[in-house]
Structures are given as C-alpha cells and as structure tokens.
C-alpha cells in the first residue's frame, strides 16, 4: 500500500506542519515515509506545498509528477495540481478562497469547509488539523491515535495545552468533509 499525497496552499496556512504531523504519524505506524517541502521565498505569503509519501515498502523518489491525493487550499494550488492527480485519485479542497471549482470528472472530489468550522471554533489555528481530519476520513492512511502522538512529538512542550483543541479539530474535520463528485 502506498499513498502519494500533495498538500498545497498559502504560506501560513499550516501546510508544511500538516504534512509533518502526517509524516510523524506514519512513522509511528511503522511505515516508510518521505516529506519533501517546497522551500524558499515562495513560502512567505506565496504558495507552499509539501509532498508526503506513506508506504509499506521503501520509497524511491521523493519527487513526483502525479499524486493519489491532492489537498488543495487555494486557487493557485488548484490551478497547478488539479491536472496532476492520477485518474481515480482524490481531490480535497476548501471552497474558501477557491473561485473556480475543480472541473475533472475522472477523480473523486471532496469538499471540506474547514475555514468556516475554524471560525465557528473561534480558532483559525485549528484550520490545518480540520483539513487533516477530513483527509483521514477519505484516506485513513494513519490512525487518529498516531496523529495525536505526532502532535505530542512535533509541538513544543509549551504548546501541549493546545492538543485537546487539535483533537477536537481532527474530529470535527473528520465529520465536515463531504463528497462533491465521484469518478
């Protein structure tokens, strides 16, 4: 079993840390994993993306041109990556900030109103964990238990009081995702 995932959005949305938490959770599952970020000036307010590969077997290339799943959090990322999803693959997007919705009919499209739920929770920082929760509903590549373990590992000790909030976000995200169209 191998999942090739791209997460893309604006710098500051928590794209890289979402990928990092997913990668750590995969590590705790005993799986092979690579985390390859875009790096450089484009992260400051521009687009940021990270490729995460989770596999039962050793991973060759950390760089890919097609993905099983794309998690898309802004319009430039949708424009860039919609065409790069494998037929039959998944596209997960938050309509907030998307002006032209996805067009493809040979992939499964899911929508998650993570920004709205984050506003309801009155905590915009929960945004990326809402999206991750939604993703794990569609592709349960790692367990929520291991995601929580990953949060413990990646968050500095002084932020561990935020873990219950993140747990709630994962749960609400898990429920907030819905299919738009199926291949």
């Amino acid at each position: 079993m191998k999942s090739e995932i791209i997460i893309a959005g604006f710098g500051g949305q928590g794209v890289l840390s979402m990928g990092k938490i997913l990668a750590y959770a995969a590590l705790f599952e005993g799986k092979e994993v690579t985390w390859m970020p875009s790096y450089g000036p484009e992260q400051r307010g521009g687009t940021a993306n990270v490729t995460v590969i989770v596999s039962d077997e050793k991973i060759s290339s950390p760089i890919l041109s097609e993905y099983d799943t794309a998690i898309i959090l802004n319009q430039p990322s949708l424009d860039k990556f919609e065409s790069k999803i494998k037929p039959g693959g998944n596209l997960i997007y938050d309509p907030y900030g998307i002006s032209t919705p996805p067009q493809r009919t040979d992939i499964n499209v899911y929508r998650i109103n993570a920004m709205d739920v984050a506003a309801e929770m009155a905590n915009v920082k929960a945004f990326n964990m809402l999206v991750l929760g939604g993703f794990l509903n569609v592709c349960p590549v790692v367990s929520i238990t291991n995601v929580l373990k990953a949060l413990h590992k990646t968050l500095p000790q002084r932020h561990h009081n935020l873990i219950p909030l993140n747990e709630e976000a994962l749960k609400r995200g898990n429920e907030a995702i819905s299919p738009v169209s199926q291949a």
Binding site: A23, L27, V33, W35, M36, S60, P62, I63
Partner: protein
C-alpha cells in the same frame, strides 16, 4: 533520543546530529540556503556543553574553510558545510588542504548555478568537486549520499577516509536530500579522541612539539625538485585511493538491457523511473556511484558489456556523463538527461528518455 531509535528528520539535521555523535571536534560555517539547518541544529544542540565540540558561525565561507585548514592541521576532526556559491569561495582553501595533506570534511548541499543562481536543488557542482575547483594536480574524495540515512552515515565515513589518507573529503549532496525528511537511525555515540589518541593517530599534526621534532604542515615548497617529489607522492596516494575506496550500488542490473547511472537525489528519481519502466516490460537497471571520486569506472565498464545503452541522469547539463564515456571507451552509446537552474526532473521524464534510447 534513545540509541537505535528510528527518527524522522531532514538530511541537513541528520548531518549535524551525526557530527556530534561521531566525535567531531569542530564545525565552522556560514549560513546559506538550502543547508542552513546544519548550523541551526548545532546551535540548538549546543554540543560545546556536552562533547566539547566547537561550533563557530564564521564571518564568511573563506573564514570557515581556513578554520577547517587550521583545525585539521592540528589533527582535529573538523568540518564545514555550505551550498554551491559558498563552496566556490572555499576552493582556494580546499586546494591548500590537498597540498598540505590536511584531513577535513566539506559538505556541499548543492543549489542551481552558475553564480549566485537559485536556491533550488541541482547537481551542477560535479565538475567542481571531482575535478578540483582549485589549482594544481589534486583530488579529493567525493561521497554522494542519496538518503537521509546516508547523510548521517557518511559523516563518520568521511572523517575515517580523510584521516586514513590525509585528504579533504567532500560530501556532495543537494537541496532535495538536505531538505527532505525521512526515517533515520543515527550512528552510535563515539567520544571525541583524547589528546593521547590524537597524537598516536596523527604523528604529523602541528599540535605542539615538546619532546619531539617539529612538524610543518604547509602546501608551499619553493624547490621544484622537492615539489615534484611531493606531487609524485600525492599521485601515488590518489592511485591507492582509486584501487581501494571505490563505492557504488547496483539496482536491478542482473537482466538489464539498459543502464542508468545516477547519484544522490537523481538516483532516487531514477529508481522510481526504473519501477515504471519495468512495469512496461523495459529491462532497465541502475548503477549508483557512491564515490564520485574515485569513480566506479571498472564497474560501469563491466556492466556496459551487456548493455545496449547507458543513460547518465544528472540534475545538470551533463558532467558525470564524461566520466562514463571515459569508462566505456565508446563500446556502447552513452546518453545524458538532466534539468538545470533548480528544476528537478520527474520520474516520467526519465522513462521518456529510456524509451528514446530504445529507438
């Protein structure tokens, strides 16, 4: 962290942790993307409080390499790291180290050039590393890690080789391997050498000459006869390294009709391309040079006997391809594929090139 714990970290971070754990005495460096996490990790870990390893943010790359020259001349295990333009600045120091036979480690996490170029990954410094970017007849050992695990493992290996042959060693990595995170088990902890051990291992070192005759560590020799003898000695040393230290890995070469030669991150991408080719029924294999100098010429020559074509896949305009051509001496067609300027080729592009080679 516990011994043998499986960790997740960036290649750059793995280098810093490995340096602390393999008894490195000093690191001297100047920040530059995409390798700044090496210095940052050392600053977080504060090894000067635990192992006594010195960490200095120098004022420039010139200062860094000359601090390595000085530390190495006293027999200490010292290192620096930088990225392409920074390593270009260091070339004078590296040729002086080669001339004076000073061991030391230089890590190059390559980015696209020429000049200040880009901060994105590249393998454009193959010539700079293997041909000697500095003056005179010299070589340095060049290791090319292709995973975060090798970033960790090659630090100790580099120091071992550097001191065995009194030679600078370059770890030639790039922005892909430096920036990506994957699983790694850090090498076991090894204490720094004591003064006694250092004196035994490095009787040549300039570290105080009480009760012995003085050692001179220099690359300057104005008598041409003595200088030629020194050059002959260096060439003999390089010959011995070529005989003993060639390292490479073969992947699916047993039944391969076509051969890809690739190193570092390019080898990872090529491996995926081979998976895709095999799924299409094309029998492709790979030779991955681990030492770029000494180059695995003999192994490539042997594989060339049964290959219909060889593709040199590099993230540059075609540099290693010349070493492959020299190795196979025209007995099989040799092609090159690469991207430049910080663009990393995709596995599909390589599959395309293999299919072209078949025609």
């Amino acid at each position: 962290m516990e011994e043998n714990e499986i960790l997740l970290m960036k290649g750059n971070e793995a280098i810093a942790h490995a340096a602390i754990r393999c008894g490195c005495d000093g690191y001297f460096g100047y920040p530059i993307t995409p390798q700044s996490e090496i210095l940052e990790t050392l600053a977080v870990e504060k090894p000067w409080e635990t192992t006594g390893m010195v960490v200095v943010q120098a004022e420039s790359e010139l200062a860094s390499i000359n601090m390595v020259y000085g530390g190495g001349a006293t027999g200490k295990r010292v290192m620096t790291s930088s990225s392409s333009p920074g390593v270009a600045l260091m070339q004078e120091g590296i040729t002086y180290m080669a001339g004076a036979e000073i061991p030391g480690l230089i890590v190059n996490v390559q980015r696209g050039g020429p000049g200040l170029g880009t901060i994105q990954p590249s393998q454009g410094d193959y010539f700079q590393s293997t041909r000697g970017g500095g003056n005179g007849d010299y070589n340095v050992i060049v290791l090319a890690p292709a995973s975060v695990q090798e970033m960790a493992d090659f630090v100790d290996l580099s120091f071992t080789l550097a001191f065995r042959y009194r030679i600078p060693v370059i770890m030639l990595s790039d922005g892909v391997i430096g920036q990506m995170m994957e699983k790694v088990v850090l090498p076991p902890f090894k204490p720094r050498r004591t003064e006694e051990e250092l004196r035994q291992e490095c009787p040549w070192a300039a570290n105080g000459c009480k009760n012995r005759k003085k050692n001179i560590v220099t690359s300057l020799e104005l008598d041409p006869h003595a200088m030629e003898l020194h050059n002959i000695h260096l060439q003999e040393k390089y010959k011995e390294i070529k005989e003993k230290e060639v390292r490479y890995e073969e992947y699916m070469t047993e039944d391969a009709e076509y051969l890809i030669v690739a190193f570092g991150s390019a080898a990872r991408i090529a491996q995926k391309a081979i998976e895709l080719c095999r799924a299409k029924g094309i029998r492709v294999g790979m030779l991955r040079p681990i030492t770029l100098w000494p180059f695995p010429s003999q192994a490539i020559k042997t594989l060339a006997q049964k290959a219909k074509g060889i593709l040199s896949m590099e993230i540059n305009a075609g540099q290693m391809v010349e070493d492959i051509q020299l190795a196979v001496q025209g007995c099989v067609p040799v092609f090159h594929y690469g991207r430049m300027g910080g663009i990393v080729p995709t596995p599909e592009e390589i599959v395309n090139e293999v299919e072209k080679m078949k025609q």
